[in-house]
C-alpha cells in the first residue's frame, strides 16, 4: 500500500546541554509517518523516545535543544517556522500529543468542560454552543457520556481521564497524534479498552498515530509499523509482520528484547535477558552503540558506526550482520 506521507523526519538531532556534557538524546534519526497508520516507537527508558516525541511538537524540555535536521509536515519544514506560526499551524492543529501519565495532567481545580474549552478557545473562534457540541461529540467518540463535562478530574476513574485526554488530543482534528505511554498507568482490562478505542478511532478518523511505549506486546497490538530505538538512534524499523512475524526481527537488540518478553500461554522455563545497561549518551560507545551488549558482535561493530539501511522493502536495520556486502 503506497500511502501518503504526513510527516517526514530527516536527520533530527536533539541534544540536552547538561553540566556533565552534551547528551545526544536523539541522534540523527530519519523516518516518516504515513496517512492513517500507527507507527510504534519502542525502546528502553532513556533511549530518547519521549524526547523524540517532544521534538516533533518543537517543544523540547530544557536544557534540550533541537540542533539539526528537518521535520517536514506536508513538505513544510516546521523547524524553520516562528513560534507563532508553529502555534497557529502545527502544535495541536496538525500534531497533538497524549503525554505520559496524561491522566495526571488534568488540573484538579477545573471541571473537564473548562479545561477542554481552554484548548478550543486558543485555537478556534466559535460560539459557546458550538464549542459545547464539539466537546460533547468528542467525548462521545471516546465513549464517555456528556455529563463528564461537569465533573472534576477526581470524580473520574483512571481510564475515563485517559479518554478525556485522548479526546482533547483529537478535537482539533490533527493529522498526527503522538501517544506517549498512554496505557502504562492503567490496569490490564482498562488498558485493553483504551487500546481498542485507539484502534477504533484510527479506523474511523484516518488520523496517524505515533505510539510510544516500552512494551513490545502493546506495539504488536496497535502498530502497523514499529521503530525500535536504542541509545538515541533507530536500530530497526519495519512492519508489524516483519518484526513479530514468524521470521522474527533482524536486529539482535530487537531479537533479545522480544525474547525477554514473557508469553502468557507458553510454558517458559528460562527467559532471556540483555546483560548490561544502556550506554551513557554523553559518551556513547564507538561503532555500533549496541556492541557492548550484543551477543553476535564482530570486529567491525567496534570500529565503524552503522548506518540504517533497507534490507527488504519497508524494513530498515542498523546492524553490520544484516548487510550482505
Amino acid at each position: 500500500m503506497a500511502m501518503e506521507r504526513v510527516l517526514e523526519v530527516k536527520d533530527l538531532e536533539l541534544h540536552y546541554f547538561t553540566r556533565k556534557g552534551v547528551v545526544r538524546a536523539v541522534d540523527k534519526i530519519t523516518f516518516d509517518v504515513r496517512q492513517g497508520e500507527t507507527l510504534g516507537v519502542v525502546g528502553e527508558s532513556g533511549c530518547g523516545k519521549t524526547t523524540m516525541g517532544t521534538a516533533l511538537l518543537n517543544m523540547p524540555t530544557p536544557p534540550g535543544r533541537i540542533v539539526g535536521g528537518q521535520i517536514l509536515l506536508d513538505g513544510l519544514d516546521t523547524l524553520k517556522m516562528s513560534e507563532q506560526e508553529i502555534r497557529r499551524r502545527v502544535r495541536w492543529e496538525s500534531i497533538s500529543m497524549v503525554f505520559q501519565g496524561a491522566m495526571n495532567c488534568l488540573t484538579p481545580v477545573y471541571t473537564i468542560e473548562r479545561q477542554m474549552k481552554e484548548t478550543l478557545q486558543q485555537h478556534r473562534e466559535m460560539s459557546k454552543e458550538e464549542a459545547k457540541t464539539r466537546m460533547k461529540n468528542y467525548l462521545n467518540l471516546v465513549g464517555l457520556p456528556d455529563d463528564v463535562l461537569r465533573r472534576y478530574p477526581h470524580e473520574l476513574s483512571g481510564g475515563m481521564k485517559q479518554r478525556v485526554v485522548i479526546a482533547m488530543a483529537l478535537f482539533l482534528e490533527p493529522r498526527v497524534v503522538i501517544c506517549d505511554e498512554p496505557t502504562t498507568a492503567l490496569d490490564v482490562v482498562v488498558q485493553a479498552q483504551v487500546i481498542n478505542l485507539l484502534k477504533d478511532l484510527k479506523a474511523q478518523m484516518n488520523v496517524s498515530f505515533i505510539f510510544i511505549t516500552h512494551d513490545l506486546s502493546i506495539e504488536a497490538e496497535v502498530s502497523d509499523r514499529i521503530m525500535v530505538m536504542y541509545a538515541g538512534q533507530i536500530s530497526e524499523l519495519g512492519t508489524s509482520e516483519q518484526i513479530f512475524g514468524p521470521q522474527g526481527p533482524a536486529h539482535p537488540y530487537t531479537q533479545r528484547l522480544l525474547a525477554a518478553t514473557p508469553l502468557l500461554h507458553q510454558e517458559v522455563t528460562e527467559l532471556a535477558f540483555i546483560p548490561g545497561t544502556p550506554p551513557d549518551l554523553v559518551d556513547p560507545p564507538a561503532g555500533c552503540r549496541f556492541h557492548p551488549r550484543c551477543h553476535v558482535v564482530m570486529d567491525r561493530c567496534l570500529r565503524d558506526e552503522v548506518p540504517l539501511r533497507e534490507i527488504e522493502p519497508d524494513h530498515m536495520v542498523a546492524c553490520w550482520r544484516c548487510f550482505h556486502e
Partner: protein, 356 residues
C-alpha cells in the same frame, strides 16, 4: 516441599472511613473492605503469585503477612505458630523471618545511606552478628549472592548511583540480610526495564533454589506471574476468586474475571493490529466501601444470572488438581469454553472481530 509454611485463614482487613457527624449520631459505620476473607496455604520453597488489578487488596494482603498492618479478623500461621496478634519480641521475630521487597527500590531506600548502611541497618536493629567484622563479611557475602560484585565497589555507593536493576538487587540483598524464610515481593520488577526484568526474576529464582526461600509474588502482570510463580491466586475486590497451579489458572481459567484479565493481556504476536480485542467484562470496578451483594463480580460479569446476586457469595471450591474457583456457574463456563476451543480449532476462527 509439601509442608505449609504460611497459612492464612479468612484473613480480613477493613479500614474505617471517616464519618460525618450525622453518621456518628445515627451510629452508621462504613468500611473499606480491602481484604475480605482471604484463605490460602503456602508450602515451603514455593513461589505463590498474587495477581489482580490495582485496588483488589493484593498489596494489603502482603502487608498483613508482614504484619505491617493489624489484622482485623482471621488467622495467620507461620511455621505452625499463630502470629495473628503477636507483639513485642514475637513480632520482632516474625519480622525477621518475613521480609518484603517493595515496588519502587528508589523510594524504599534512604538516599543518604550508602549501600553498606542500607544493608547494615537490619543487622543493627536486630542485633545480629558478634562484631563489625562479622557483619561486614556477611554484607559482602550477600552482595555476592545477588551478583553485585565486586562488593567493595558497591558498598560505598548511594542508591542514586545504581541503575534500576542494581537497585532492585540491593533491595533483594537487604531482605536476605536476616535469613528470612518468606519474602513478600510486591511488584519487584514493574519499574524495571524489560531487558533487565528477566535478569532480576532469574536471580530471585536462583536465590530461592539455593536458600530454600518461599516467595509471595504480588503483581498485576500475568505474563511474568506465569513465568515466575508456581501457584497463582487471582484477587478481585478483596477476595481470592481463583487459585491453582500457574499454568492451569492461565490456560484453563474458569472464573469470568480471570478470563477477562487474560483476554486483556497483550502478546507480541503479529496480525492483531486491525482487530478489536475481545475483553469479556463490563463496567468498572466498584468501590471497596460498597461491595455488591451475592457474588461480588456479578455487576461486571457476562454470565451472571439472578441466583448470582440473590444467593450468598460462592465459596472457593476445589475442582481437581488444586484448581479452585469461586463461581456458581463454573461448570457451564467450562463447557462453553471447551466448545469454543473446538470450534475455533476446527474453523481456524479467532474470537476477535475485524474492523477495517
Amino acid at each position: 516441599m509439601s509442608e505449609p509454611i504460611l497459612v492464612a485463614e479468612n484473613l480480613t482487613k477493613w479500614f474505617p472511613v471517616k464519618r460525618l457527624v450525622s453518621q456518628v449520631l445515627r451510629g452508621e459505620r462504613t468500611w473499606v473492605r480491602a481484604v475480605d476473607g482471604v484463605s490460602f496455604s503456602i508450602n515451603k520453597g514455593e513461589i505463590f503469585g498474587l495477581v489482580g488489578e490495582s485496588g483488589c487488596g493484593k498489596t494489603t494482603t502482603g502487608k498483613l503477612i508482614m504484619k505491617l498492618l493489624e489484622i482485623t479478623d482471621g488467622h495467620l500461621h507461620l511455621n505452625g505458630e499463630d502470629v495473628t496478634h503477636v507483639r513485642g519480641r514475637a513480632l520482632a521475630k516474625h519480622r525477621r523471618s518475613v521480609q518484603m521487597i517493595f515496588q519502587d527500590p528508589y523510594s524504599s531506600m534512604n538516599p543518604r545511606f550508602t549501600i553498606r548502611d542500607v544493608l547494615m541497618e537490619p543487622l543493627e536493629i536486630h542485633k545480629v552478628g558478634k562484631d563489625m567484622k562479622e557483619r561486614n563479611a556477611w554484607v559482602s557475602e550477600i552482595l555476592n549472592e545477588v551478583k553485585l560484585s565486586p562488593p567493595e565497589e558497591f558498598l560505598v555507593r548511594h542508591p542514586h548511583m545504581l541503575s534500576g536493576g542494581q537497585r532492585q538487587r540491593a533491595a533483594t540483598a537487604r531482605t536476605l540480610m536476616l535469613n528470612p524464610s518468606v519474602i513478600v515481593a510486591d511488584e519487584p520488577v514493574s519499574m524495571i526495564d524489560l531487558s533487565t526484568r528477566a535478569e532480576i526474576l532469574h536471580m530471585m529464582r536462583q536465590l530461592q533454589r539455593e536458600l530454600g526461600l518461599t516467595y509471595i509474588y504480588i503483581t498485576h502482570d500475568l505474563s511474568t506471574a506465569r513465568y515466575f510463580a508456581d501457584r497463582l491466586a487471582v484477587m478481585y475486590l478483596g477476595k481470592i476468586i481463583e487459585m491453582g497451579p500457574a499454568g492451569t489458572v492461565i490456560d484453563r481459567c474458569l472464573h469470568p474475571y480471570t478470563q477477562a484479565l487474560i483476554g486483556a493481556v497483550c502478546e507480541p504476536v503479529s496480525g492483531k493490529v486491525n482487530q478489536i480485542k475481545d475483553v469479556p467484562i463490563k463496567g468498572e470496578i466498584p468501590a471497596a466501601t460498597n461491595i455488591p451483594p451475592g457474588c461480588r463480580f456479578h455487576p461486571r460479569c457476562l454470565y451472571a444470572v439472578n441466583e448470582c446476586w440473590e444467593n450468598v457469595e460462592p465459596k472457593l471450591v476445589d475442582i481437581g488438581g488444586g484448581h479452585m474457583v469461586a463461581c456458581r456457574r463454573h461448570e457451564e463456563i467450562e463447557r462453553i469454553g471447551a466448545a469454543a476451543r473446538t470450534s475455533e480449532a476446527s474453523l481456524g476462527l479467532r474470537r476477535s472481530t475485524r474492523i477495517s
